[in-house]
C-alpha cells in the first residue's frame, strides 16, 4: 500500500510546495512511491484520511487553528514543511508589533475598520498572532528552512516508505560550510548566524556569497549569549542584533508578549 500523502497550506509564500514540484528529477519517482491525495497547488482532489500530512505556513487565526486540528486528526504523521510552519518565519516578526498597528500600517485606519464591520467576513480578519504549527498540534517531523530543502524532503519520503525514521542531525550550518570549504562569513567582515542555526541546507547562502540569517531555526544547544556577545564585538548595536535575530524570528522566542 502506497502511503497517502497530503499537502496543506496556511500563511506562507507557498515556496515550499513549489519546492516539492521543483524536485523534477525525482517527482515522477516519488509519485511511484506515494499517493498524493491533496495538493491544492497542483491538484483538485481532496481526501478524508492520509498517512502523512505536510503543513506549509504559519497559523494566524482561529479558523486556521481549527482547520489545522482537523488535519492532525485525519493524519498519522504530520510534517511541518518549511520555516513558516516550523518557526513562524519572517511574518512572526509582526508578533512584536501590536495587531491593531499591523492592520493600520497595511490597510489604513479607516479601511480596516470598515472591512471588519461585516460580520460574515470577520473571521478572515481575526488575526491573533503568528504561530508555528507545533505550538498548536504535535509535529512528527520538521523540514526546516525557507524554503525547505528538497534533499531533506526526499530523505523523509524515503524513510517513511521504507518503514524507517528520518534523521535530521542537530548540527550547526558551520559543518556544511566546512564541507564546502567556504570562507567563513566572519572572515569576509560579515556577521553570520550559522553557528547557532540548524544545518541541513548545505550552507547554501554562505556558499553563494551571503551569510546565514537563521531561517532554519536556532539549535537546541545554541550558545545564544556567546553569539550575542560576538555580534557586539563585531560592532552591531543591540538594536541591530535584535533586528537580525528577528529577521526569520529564529533567535527570538515565538509567542512572546507583544510589545509596543
Amino acid at each position: 500500500m502506497k502511503p497517502k500523502v497530503a499537502f496543506f497550506d496556511f500563511a506562507g509564500c507557498e515556496g515550499c510546495q513549489l519546492a516539492v514540484l521543483n524536485c523534477e528529477d525525482v517527482l515522477l519517482d516519488i509519485l511511484g512511491l506515494v499517493d498524493i491525495v491533496e495538493f491544492r497547488e497542483a491538484i483538485s482532489e481532496t481526501a478524508p484520511r492520509f498517512d502523512v500530512a505536510f503543513i506549509e505556513g504559519s497559523i494566524h487565526r482561529e479558523e486556521d487553528v481549527e482547520r489545522l486540528r482537523g488535519i492532525r486528526a485525519r493524519s498519522t504523521y504530520l510534517v511541518a514543511l518549511g520555516a513558516c510552519a516550523c518557526i513562524g518565519n519572517v511574518q512572526a516578526r509582526s508578533n512584536f508589533i501590536a495587531p491593531a498597528e499591523n492592520f493600520k500600517r497595511v490597510y489604513g485606519e479607516v479601511d480596516r475598520n470598515q472591512a471588519q464591520t461585516d460580520p460574515e467576513f470577520w473571521p478572515l480578519w481575526a488575526h491573533t498572532r503568528v504561530r508555528a504549527v507545533k505550538e498548536i498540534v504535535p509535529v512528527d517531523f520538521e523540514l526546516r528552512g525557507c524554503p525547505m530543502v528538497p534533499a531533506e524532503f526526499v530523505h523523509l519520503v524515503k524513510a517513511l516508505v521504507s518503514g524507517s525514521i528520518p534523521h535530521f542531525p542537530a548540527n550547526a550550518v558551520c559543518v556544511e560550510c566546512k564541507a564546502n570549504e567556504n570562507e567563513c562569513a566572519f572572515d569576509r567582515g560579515e556577521t553570520c548566524m550559522g553557528q547557532i542555526t540548524y544545518g541541513g541546507c548545505g550552507a547554501i547562502c554562505v556558499t553563494n556569497g551571503y551569510r546565514c540569517d537563521g531561517c532554519r531555526g536556532v539549535l537546541p544547544h545554541a550558545n545564544l549569549a556567546a553569539h550575542r556577545q560576538l555580534l557586539r564585538e563585531k560592532g552591531l548595536s543591540d538594536a541591530l542584533i535584535q533586528n537580525r535575530y528577528r529577521l526569520f524570528c529564529s533567535a527570538e522566542p515565538l509567542g512572546q508578549e507583544i510589545r509596543r
Binding site: 521504507s162 518503514g163 524507517s164 534523521h167
Partner: protein, 282 residues
C-alpha cells in the same frame, strides 16, 4: 612525467566496509520491543563470546548488535534486536528469507580459558542477557571445566523478560535468579527487586569467582558497589559497555572511552583495565 596509478595499497587484503549477506531463518517476537533473529551466514562466523557484528539492511543503515549465541561450527548466528530507532525498526519488519548484511565479528569478547575452573556469576539487566547468552551457552555446555555457575537476570516487568525458555531450562542445571522491578499485575514466578539484591545472599568465594556483567549504564555503579562489598577483585569482573559505533574497527571515533576504542579493546572489558577511565562508567 606521468605516473601511472597503482590499483591499491599493498596493506589491503580485504575491504573492511563490505558486508557479507546473510539470510534470515527465523524471527521471533520476544517482547513488545525485542525480536530474536536467527540468520544463516555464508561461512561460520568464528566468533568468541561477547563479540558483536555490524548488522545492516542495505539502503537503511548499519548498527552494532551483539552475538547472542555461543561459538559454533555451523553458519548460524543468533541475535536479539531491540526496536530503538530508524534502523532497528526496519529490522523488526523483516521476515524469514530476507537478507541482512553482516560484518565482523568485532571486539575483544571473553576468553573462555580465563574462566576455566572459576565460579561464574552472570548478571544481566534487560537486553544485557543477549550478549551474555553467548557466554552462558558454552559455559553450560562444558560444566566440568567451570565451577559453580549462577545467573542473575533482571528486567523491568514480566512482559520484558528475554529468553524465558532458556532461563527455565538453564535453571535445571545451574542456579538461576530471575527478577523484575515490578510485576505490573502480571503473573510472575521469579523474584521482585533489583539485580543488586541477590548478590548479598550469594555464597561467593572472592578467590575463585568471576563475574560477567552486562546491562544498561545505570546498573553498573550499583552492582559494582555490591561486588566490592563481597570483595570480588576487579580483575575478576568483566563488564560489557555500549557506545555509538559506525565502523566497528577503531576508525570512526564514536566509541572512544578516553583513549580506548570500545569496538576494539571492548565491548567486554576486565573491570580493572578500565576503572581508572573517567568516561567508562558515566
Amino acid at each position: 612525467m606521468n605516473v601511472t596509478a597503482s590499483a591499491s595499497d599493498t596493506t589491503l587484503d580485504k575491504n573492511l566496509y563490505l558486508p557479507r549477506m546473510a539470510t534470515i531463518l527465523a524471527v521471533e517476537e520476544m517482547t513488545a520491543r525485542e525480536k530474536f533473529f536467527r540468520v544463516e551466514l555464508s561461512q561460520p562466523l568464528g566468533h568468541r563470546p561477547g563479540q558483536f557484528v555490524m548488522l545492516s539492511r542495505l539502503g537503511i543503515g548499519e548498527a552494532p548488535i551483539s552475538v547472542s549465541c555461543g561459538p559454533r561450527d555451523d553458519t548460524i548466528l543468533e541475535m536479539v534486536v531491540r526496536n530503538a530507532g530508524s534502523l532497528t525498526q526496519v529490522f523488526h519488519g523483516l521476515q524469514p528469507g530476507q537478507k541482512v548484511g553482516v560484518r565482523g565479528p568485532f571486539g575483544s569478547g571473553f576468553d573462555l580459558a580465563d574462566l576455566y575452573d572459576k565460579d561464574i556469576v552472570f548478571i544481566a539487566g534487560g537486553l544485557g542477557l543477549a550478549p551474555l547468552r553467548s557466554l552462558i551457552q558454552p559455559v553450560l555446555a562444558q560444566p566440568d571445566r567451570f565451577g559453580t555457575v549462577t545467573i542473575i537476570s533482571g528486567c523491568r516487568t514480566p512482559a520484558e523478560e528475554l529468553y524465558r525458555a532458556d532461563l527455565q531450562s538453564w535453571s535445571h542445571k545451574v542456579k538461576v535468579i530471575r527478577l523484575v522491578d515490578k510485576t505490573a499485575n502480571l503473573p510472575w514466578d521469579g523474584q521482585v527487586g533489583l539485580v543488586t539484591a541477590p548478590i548479598a545472599q550469594l555464597d561467593l568465594d572472592p578467590g575463585r569467582t568471576v563475574v560477567a556483567l552486562c546491562g544498561p549504564p545505570v546498573m553498573y555503579k550499583f552492582v559494582l558497589m555490591e561486588l566490592d562489598a563481597r570483595r570480588i577483585p576487579h580483575s575478576q569482573i568483566f563488564v560489557d559497555l555500549e557506545r555509538r559505533m559506525k565502523c566497528g574497527v577503531g576508525k570512526c571515533g564514536h566509541c572512544q572511552i578516553n583513549h580506548v576504542y570500545c569496538c576494539q579493546e571492548g565491548p567486554v572489558y576486565r573491570f580493572d583495565h578500565i576503572e581508572h577511565l573517567p568516561e567508562a562508567l558515566q
